[in-house]
């Protein structure tokens, strides 16, 4: 097998510069100045056919150089993952582990009259049962409104009310039903529309008593957890006088991430008070800071370990089971306790994907130019506000979609309901807002009798325009959306017609959607990287980006290899994060992995190089400024034969007589997003993110009007991805996102009873796309390099998902002749809409 691994490692075609296509690789502008100059010399060398001596020298030097940016380098965890050796959080069970199982609420809203644990505690093998009565703090990432285990009342179906700790997983599970709870059912708030009504039952009666950070504005006495206002221009004045006005509503229920690995947390409290957490989490560093704040533990006494994560999509960015496992461990004297969700719990007990009711009104002139937009977003914030308040903010920030609108009026509400509570989902508010806005644009296009792509093109946001929060855009910040739209039209063959009746009496129809997204993370969050050198000159890369499937940790090694001028094979990357030694990366969310850690890695590489130069300059007796690094050597630029290998320098240089100078080379770098600001509470004015990734998507369906069934034939996506570091993985990310978007739009969503009970919390009843149900995916890129990032890359991890629901609805609306504004689009929905029910 070893031989195989070797063979696989050489899979990437190491392009030498002899390949004529090398210049297309990535834009010269994205390079640092010096590299640009060198590249220029190569170009000249082509022109003069290496006649000039100096050019010849550069030519030879560069031929040896392997470029790692733009290569399909195989990810570092590949062989572990195809051989079953990859370890996830639930895979490491030790002899000293106890096991926990949750007892959850059968009601969506009810007063807890009593929880009797005596029968459960009598089950042989059960060590302890903990209930909400045993805990007196409230948690939450923003507003602290959530008990770790429900106390006094339950607010959603599946809410944890107790945890059973036993000597085996089976015993814990067996004993859970023996916890006997008595409830008094309360009236249920079953949608955001209901939640905002004046007479609605209150989900939280004591909203005014919760700890609330300054930037959040819950309104006591209502179900409003947060309200974000965007006011740009004079929308309320301009909108009524617009020559053409179109209004539409959309609505969809909460759904789920469905990561194949259900969430797991293991906690142990050591005799000296050190708390060790192992978790399948996208946010090990947030676990650390929340534990510190909530339980008053110094940060050095918290060790969070995160191995490979079996899918996140935002769902594992919430901290929940970790708290429960901590309480459980504390109740049994600090012994190690492992808590793993059953699938049924992972669906509803742990946080879900947010639902939305929205109304969008667009006013434009007779030619279709947008003048004003009025938008209302009512987000289904569920029982607890955790991340939902931030999703609401994110949607408000980009509320218009990627269009130039001078007059914007947006109210985004995050509402408490008796539904499972949401957390981040791939796209963070954007698939949701995009569905609302793009459906409205399609409706407007129909009213104007205009081609929907022409109407969009006319209004696309451009450098020089401002966003709803009045951020001024330039080319680096917004990329080239017009090019994306043109390309996607070509991919889906838009010009052959967007509605074609076939000979089999079916209808082939197409729909498009544009999207944009910025990152919406705090203005002060940072990302760090370490490059630790081994004696043989190989390097160990560490950073806080969690490997949730995106391959980011491996792609960061490509960035390091490029900068250090060594083979990517010589960079080792561990997949496990340990918050005591791994440099912090705020959260593995928001497509910021490569964006931020990429910059940190570049800095770490430069730091390592300067250390190598320092040592080498003494040995070679030249100034460090005159040294260069290439191919694992440091050499004197005027006399390249004077050189030292990384191996000779990595742990200090030893002279023949034994004298040694320098020590182990350890490069370090960290990065903070520059110039972000808080938003003005009254107008929303401010700079929420560094740049916007933009793109356009399209879907083609074949619809059968007899029974309202359909097949998704093709789906296309073009993103302005800036410079692409690893094309194979970039495409894979985008395809995966599109697939998730289509699965969500075509079949996913919780079905609630009138009492707020979730009817589909298993894969038998909650359907996802399976093999062969997928369309053909077409992915292409526009590459406008970012001026801010490593080699000009842009974040693309989430974006494939964003426009898919809107594009699918557009194609099916076209095919069926009814305006589809709900999700998921199952044949029954089309049938219902056709009959006006």
């Amino acid at each position: 097998m070893l031989a195989n691994i070797e063979a696989m490692m050489t899979l990437p075609s190491h392009k030498s510069l002899e390949e004529p296509s090398f210049l297309n690789h990535f834009s010269v502008h994205a390079l640092p100045l010096e590299a640009r100059w060198e590249r220029l010399v190569i170009v000249i060398s082509h022109v003069f056919k290496h006649t000039h001596l100096m050019t010849l020298f550069f030519w030879q030097k560069r031929v040896m150089r392997v470029e790692w940016v733009g290569q399909n380098v195989i990810r570092k965890d590949a062989w572990d993952k195809v051989t079953g050796r990859a370890k996830f959080a639930a895979d490491t069970m030790t002899m000293d582990t106890l096991f926990a199982a949750l007892v959850t609420s059968p009601y969506a809203h009810a007063k807890i009259l009593q929880v009797d644990v005596s029968q459960a505690e009598a089950v042989p093998g059960v060590i302890k049962v903990v209930t909400g009565e045993d805990i007196d703090i409230l948690v939450g990432e923003g507003i602290r409104d959530r008990p770790i285990l429900a106390k006094d009342k339950v607010r959603y179906y599946g809410e944890p009310i107790a945890v059973v700790i036993a000597d085996s997983p089976d015993t814990a599970r067996l004993a859970a039903p023996f916890v006997k709870a008595a409830f008094l059912p309360l009236p249920v708030v079953n949608s955001p529309q209901e939640a905002i009504q004046a007479q609605a039952p209150l989900v939280h009666e004591h909203l005014d008593t919760y700890y609330t950070p300054k930037h959040l504005r819950p309104i006591p006495g209502t179900n409003i957890a947060h309200h974000v206002k965007i006011r740009k221009g004079e929308a309320d004045k301009k909108l009524p006088s617009c020559p053409v006005i179109y209004e539409s509503r959309v609505s969809f229920p909460p759904s789920d991430h469905c990561a194949m690995e259900t969430r797991t947390a293991t906690v142990e409290i050591r005799p000296d008070g050190t708390v060790c957490v192992e978790s399948s989490s996208q946010v090990p560093f947030i676990i650390k800071s929340l534990f510190s704040e909530l339980f008053d533990i110094p940060q050095d006494k918290i060790v969070v370990t995160t191995p490979l994560v079996g899918g996140g999509y935002g769902g594992k960015s919430a901290v929940q089971l970790e708290f429960i496992a901590y309480i459980a461990s504390r109740a049994v004297g600090g012994q190690k306790v492992m808590l793993t969700n059953r699938r049924e719990e992972d669906f509803v007990t742990s946080p879900v994907h947010i639902g939305l009711d929205a109304t969008v009104t667009i006013g434009c002139d007779d030619t279709g130019r947008f003048i004003a937009m009025k938008i209302s977003y009512l987000f289904d914030g569920g029982a607890y506000s955790d991340k939902a308040v931030d999703i609401c903010r994110a949607a408000a920030i980009d509320c218009t979609g990627p269009y130039r609108v001078d007059h914007v009026f947006c109210d985004a509400y995050c509402l408490y309901t008796n539904h499972p509570y949401p957390t981040a989902f791939r796209g963070f508010g954007h698939p949701e807002l995009t569905y609302a806005v793009e459906r409205c644009i399609d409706g407007l296009a129909e009213k104007l009798a205009m081609d929907p792509t022409v109407l969009r093109k006319k209004n696309l946001i451009q450098p020089g325009d401002t966003t709803p929060t009045q951020s001024l855009l330039n080319k680096s910040r917004i990329g080239n959306l017009t090019a994306c739209l043109e390309k996607v039209k070509a991919l889906i063959r838009w010009d052959e017609g967007d509605r074609i009746e076939t000979e089999n009496h079916t209808i082939r129809a197409k729909g498009v959607s544009c999207f944009w997204k910025t990152s919406n993370i705090g203005p002060n969050v940072s990302s760090g990287a370490l490059l630790v050198f081994n004696k043989d000159g190989t390097v160990h890369l560490d950073c806080g980006v969690v490997e949730i499937g995106t391959g980011s940790r491996s792609v960061l090694a490509q960035i390091a290899a490029e900068r250090l001028g060594i083979d990517v094979k010589d960079i080792h990357v561990d997949m496990t994060i340990k918050t005591t030694t791994t440099p912090e990366h705020y959260k593995t969310v928001a497509s910021r992995g490569l964006w931020m850690a990429g910059r940190a890695v570049l800095r770490a590489a430069d730091d390592a190089l300067s250390q190598l130069f320092q040592i080498a300059s003494q040995v070679l007796r030249v100034s460090p400024d005159d040294l260069r690094a290439e191919g694992g050597f440091i050499f004197y630029k005027h006399e390249p034969r004077k050189r030292l290998s990384f191996r000779e320098l990595a742990h200090g240089y030893r002279y023949p007589n034994g004298n040694t100078i320098g020590g182990q080379v350890i490069g370090r770098g960290s990065f903070v997003l520059p110039k972000l600001t808080f938003l003005d509470p009254d107008t929303g004015k401010g700079d929420p993110g560094p740049d916007w990734t933009v793109g356009a998507e399209a879907v083609e369906v074949e619809f059968n009007p007899k029974d309202d069934t359909y097949k998704i034939l093709r789906a296309a996506c073009v993103i302005d991805a800036g410079t692409i570091i690893n094309p194979m993985y970039a495409e894979g990310q985008v395809r995966g996102g599109m697939h998730m978007g289509l699965s969500f739009a075509s079949r996913e969503g919780f079905v609630f009873t009138k009492d707020g009970i979730v009817m589909n919390n298993q894969f038998r009843t909650y359907k996802v796309l399976r093999y062969g149900e997928n369309p053909e995916y077409l992915v292409d890129f526009v590459q406008t390099p970012s001026m801010e990032t490593a080699y000009g890359l842009r974040g693309i991890g989430e974006h494939g998902v964003i426009g898919m629901p809107a594009a699918l609805a557009a194609s099916l609306s076209k095919a069926s002749g009814v305006f589809i504004n709900e999700l998921p689009i199952i044949p029954e929905l089309i049938w219902r809409l056709k009959r006006g029910r």
């Binding site: 590949a78 990859a86 370890k87 639930a90 194949m260």
Partner: protein, 163 residues
């Protein structure tokens, strides 16, 4: 014959090795493999037969190990993902980027190994039929399809060369 609740020692044949292990008659195969023997390559995704993440081969046939009791496999040959050593399917998965988080991967690979052993020239309909028992949430399945096509294609080529 094992009795419910009692612990008994049985011999299981896993990846060509005989392993003695103490089990309860009520234990699922997935739990014995993972918790008693350390074959953590077989993954729990639903423990309800819905996702295929726990798939292993039993006498060459892909089975969901969450839907079998351990005593059912005494005397049968079990293959887990740990028993594969650089097969064409594994290589093709890497070459075609057929996984991301890798959690569903062992289940899919075992299913495909079983499929290709039974149907040497599986067509798309057969492949679809078999693979719909598993779920991947990261990739688009297009990558997996390419990987399987590649394996089949290489197999055909080798076959021709032999003839």
């Amino acid at each position: 014959m094992l009795h419910v609740g009692s612990l008994e020692k049985v011999r299981l044949n896993i990846n060509g090795h005989n392993r003695w292990v103490t089990i309860k008659a009520s234990e699922r195969l997935i739990d014995v493999l993972r918790n008693r023997l350390g074959y953590t390559g077989c993954k729990p995704g639903c423990l309800n037969g819905d996702c295929g993440a726990c798939t292993v081969l039993v006498d060459g046939v892909p089975m969901k190990s969450c839907m079998m009791l351990a005593p059912q496999v005494v005397g049968k040959a079990i293959t887990t993902i740990e028993g594969l050593e650089g097969t064409d399917v594994q290589k093709a998965f890497i070459e075609h980027n057929a996984f991301q988080c890798g959690y569903c991967t062992p289940g899919f690979i075992m299913n495909i190994e079983g499929l290709l052993a039974k149907h040497r020239h599986a067509d798309e309909a057969i492949i679809e039929d078999w693979l719909q028992s598993n779920i991947c949430r990261c990739t688009s399945y297009q990558e997996m399809k390419a990987a399987i096509q590649d394996v089949l294609h290489k197999r055909d080529q080798n076959h021709e060369e032999l003839e």
